[in-house]
Symmetry: D2
Subunit: 336 residues, 4 copies
């Protein structure tokens, strides 16, 4: 169950509520976010929802039988829309484009990418400064210095920054330079990192694990929410299956289902989703029709010269064509 | 390699070609279809393509290094468009809708479905009379009598029939009543059935196996083509993955890739693809954006009363809305 | 439910039973095998098992709530042991070794293999004469002539034959020359083939589908049993997973579980299970410890020269060493 | 390539080596562990191995073309054997048993478990004090206090401790109380954690990711080794496949292959591997025959009352029987 508390609930009212929950043998967790105060109750017994809901200091109470609670659509009338500065909105009814290189490489690369994005009305730039790499001998990104350089250029152009964070220690130094923290697929169940991001006042984009279920993704989001941060988006980025013709198997089913199960925005990553440049456009368009609230994709002036091998990265002109198509597909879908 | 023969190639010219192939140690297979004559050569040595191509009696010669040959896009300038009677076309540039119940159940059901399809301009009706069932104790369909009844009603209304064939012995009796033979996912590598369908003058819709790779699907189609039948469409119907939130995981990546690898039409089956009625529309729309040439889907006047449990079946009004949306999505895509 | 009938049950007693089942709304199927007569009842209502069991003409009645019935362990006190001629037994308490080449290639190859098997006390020889091949341009086996040649040599040496059957039409001509019919992974849900093998008086080894579940395998076996043939063994031969380091992923969990769920013998195929010669021995030994009643494996005098590429085939001396180890492992396990 | 350095290599000799590597365009990484000094070179060009090997200050040089280097078997003559205090050895030729509860719950539970282990000659005890849980509302373990309590009891009895570490910050406080650090499946690609464990003087047991490939597991181990810690064991604990009959699919193929690819010890976790108590014994025995150097398993005095639901946990008497069987299976295997 989810109990929404009044802001001015008193200590004795709270105590009374706790007793009531103990009576019915529900374990309770207090959650305070930037937008509200909640008690999450977990238990198995039947209970009289009105008796609890009528207690003083309680705004509302909701039954949510899923393993995830606060991220469920069952208790929220309206879908979450995340607002960034300057009127950028992410969530139902809005369409978010995020694009940029796999890795931040150089000042020149950043400038060229920003020019490309600005010319195309793309207001959120992706890029890695901390790169999770299978091999310890691979390039691991430019780190905080790369981020600062990037941030300075992006701010000038009114472009927002989304980038991956890999460990708790990185969060604090990154905060001034990041608009959206990204959690990568390999950290989808790094619960300590999720906890820590719950205490941060910035939105988080949470990627589905390489073989993560829908349910696991939603519970991972619950970690962030229950630690205090309601500004979460989920990202489908392809799963691991028996099929080796593509790098990953983009699971558009997940997009359709997530939009039904949670009030959080759902973003699709076609670049990693199929992992083959040639098909990124089709997979991106399919994702929009399946219900995605936005697309995050890799672009590079010269994909074949990117630090990453660029096999899943679009060139600027391909990307331009795709932005237009995606916006049209979004408009068509919204008209349905 | 694929060698296209002139219709009037002489026996001695053919003999000469064979010798040439033996010289370079290529095993050769003669293929005659309703549309052409071919020699398929399989070997590893380098060869002079012009020397062979210049031989008399040869129209053209193509290198195709894939394991599949005749179904590859590498040698065909234009995509295959399959024509049914009355101007129905399936393939690139056309959009095919096929709808109907899981199983043919009764005359009344057939009539109602036909009325629904006719009113919506859907000209191909699906339905099972031989049903592959996991349990031997389940209903296995009305068989040939059901098919005859269905056929009579459909012909009156100008509706074409697609239905599954499960074994070689069923083909011959079914021929007069079937417009498209469907091969189900469980028979995707039933090579004897594929061989036999190669000798039939009717189009075949070949479903991907439950864990079939793209390559296996194309090689299965090669069985049909190389036995004489060029009129094949491929069908993505969801694969088996670790995710159990849906019955199958619709793999729209396969649609995007198949349209690139083969000249054959590609159809999407969202009903089995995700297997949950609530999401069939989104998955169908996504499939169109990924490049599908058509959609095959389950509809029933009363899904919850269908012989199958109907969990993946749309009601008539849901279906009507979806037909319209699919046609719009197709138009948008063609405009790109 | 499974109702075992007395041999001399009268038509009127049978009628009475049928009425009783209709009363409780159970659909019933009559099954007659080489060893018994049964009625399988499928329904959902609660019923009084004693009331039905006490009817005249009934030997016994069992509740079996699984989707599969006759192959379930829930109603059989003793595991099935399949007897071949000359005292060969397959099933709990016995250990069966089956070995031979991927494909039957020549008289010389058959003779050498038989000598090898006889010298090592291996009494069942495997080999393909009808080969399921992904590509239509690959060698599909020597067919019935190869089988006859093989059979003549094997009979002289007292060696029994197991070989794959791929289509219903092949069964009848094969019967005189086959001791165990094998159904391959690709035909694991070829229900017509399973039906037909239910009417044959020879044992059947049924392989698990490439992505077949335990439940599907048992239901496939139920097809054979319910059509009249109780002499079935199941075979784990590796499944398709995300891991591409091996050809298939041998699933020894399935062996452990199948021995618990069914009374049928369970055979392991390490050659296909992992598909890499180097590891066949370890996988075979692991399969025995997991509970396998026997091992079917590929051996060839010169694996690297086999028709198949032989990558999963042991040479004679490797095989000899493994036979000994497997027998020791079996003895150890039986002692537990 | 791996270059083993002499302990007394001089700065100028090192400089010379670096130049040589730059000449052939190899990126180099210096690695210093508790046992040796190495330079890892990564590049693509052909090089003269003897020319480099003959340089002063170099003990040996090895070509290792795998993505992982130091953990590869290609350069090490002998398998790694990890020694704990009091003569406990883990690795080829030795058999390690590790057992204990899912979670450390209470002093009484710890005492009972220790008595059980001591009585059966099991010298390493597993148990969780930091538990990775899908839901933020679940019990997350007793933490460092639980570990201290456990450590005090274990030391008295001469029992060693293996327990999971989930984040970098936990490592330092845990060091005095832990004998083997365990990295869980969800952290199998938490590269920062792996880096940090490379700097620790304690052995690490690294679990395979839920859908981690063999190659990813070995590269994860390379992270630890290349940061300075050679004392690593790998652990197969079941993978995620389409099969839902078990919680995970124990992949004994991985055990066989890992023993061939790496010199590190390989441990099997049958409890999580299949996740069903009823089959843990068979899976454990199979793992030994596949080549495992040890077994880590869950035992609890009253499995059904464990904090975890105990569905994969053996009771003491089941466990006792299994220890004996495992030791016999190990002896048999070593005799082969």
């Amino acid at each position: 169950m989810i109990i929404q508390l009044e802001q001015n609930i008193t200590a004795s009212q709270l105590e009374k509520l706790r007793e009531k929950l103990q009576e019915i043998q529900y374990r309770s967790t207090r959650v305070s976010t930037q937008f509200g105060d909640y008690i999450i109750g977990v238990g198995k017994k039947e209970f009289d929802i009105r008796a609890i809901g009528a207690l003083p200091g309680i705004r509302d109470i909701h039954r949510v039988s899923d393993d995830y609670k606060l991220v469920s659509k069952k208790w929220r009338v309206e879908d979450t829309v995340i607002e960034l500065e300057e009127g950028i909105r992410i969530g139902t009814g809005h369409f978010a484009l995020m694009a940029g290189p796999c890795s931040i490489e150089s000042e020149e690369q950043v400038e060229k990418t920003i020019r490309h994005l600005a010319a195309n009305g793309v207001r959120i730039m992706r890029g890695g400064v901390y790169k999770p790499r299978s091999s310890p001998y691979s390039f691991r990104g430019l780190g905080i210095d790369g981020l600062k350089l990037w941030h300075a250029k992006a701010r000038e152009a009114g472009i927002r920054i989304i980038t991956e964070v890999m460990m708790v220690e990185q969060i604090k130094p990154m905060i001034p330079y990041v608009d959206i923290f990204q959690v990568g697929a390999r950290n989808a169940q790094n619960f300590n990192l999720l906890d820590a991001l719950g205490e941060v006042g910035k939105p988080v984009l949470l990627k589905r694990g390489i073989s993560g279920t829908i349910d696991e993704l939603l519970q991972a989001a619950e970690y962030i929410f229950s630690n205090g941060n309601e500004r979460i988006m989920l990202c489908e980025r392809g799963i691991r299956t028996f099929e080796t013709a593509y790098r990953n198997t983009m699971d558009i089913n997940a997009i359709a289902m997530l939009k039904d199960k949670t009030h959080l925005p759902v973003i699709a990553d076609p670049s990693h989703g199929i992992g083959l440049r040639r098909y990124v456009d089709k997979v991106a368009l399919a994702s929009v029709m399946a219900g995605a609230d936005g697309i995050i994709m890799e672009v590079h002036e010269q994909p074949e010269k990117a630090f990453s091998d660029g096999q899943q990265t679009l060139g600027f002109s391909e990307a331009e064509r795709l932005y237009r198509q995606l916006r049209l597909a979004f408009e068509l879908r919204e008209g349905f």
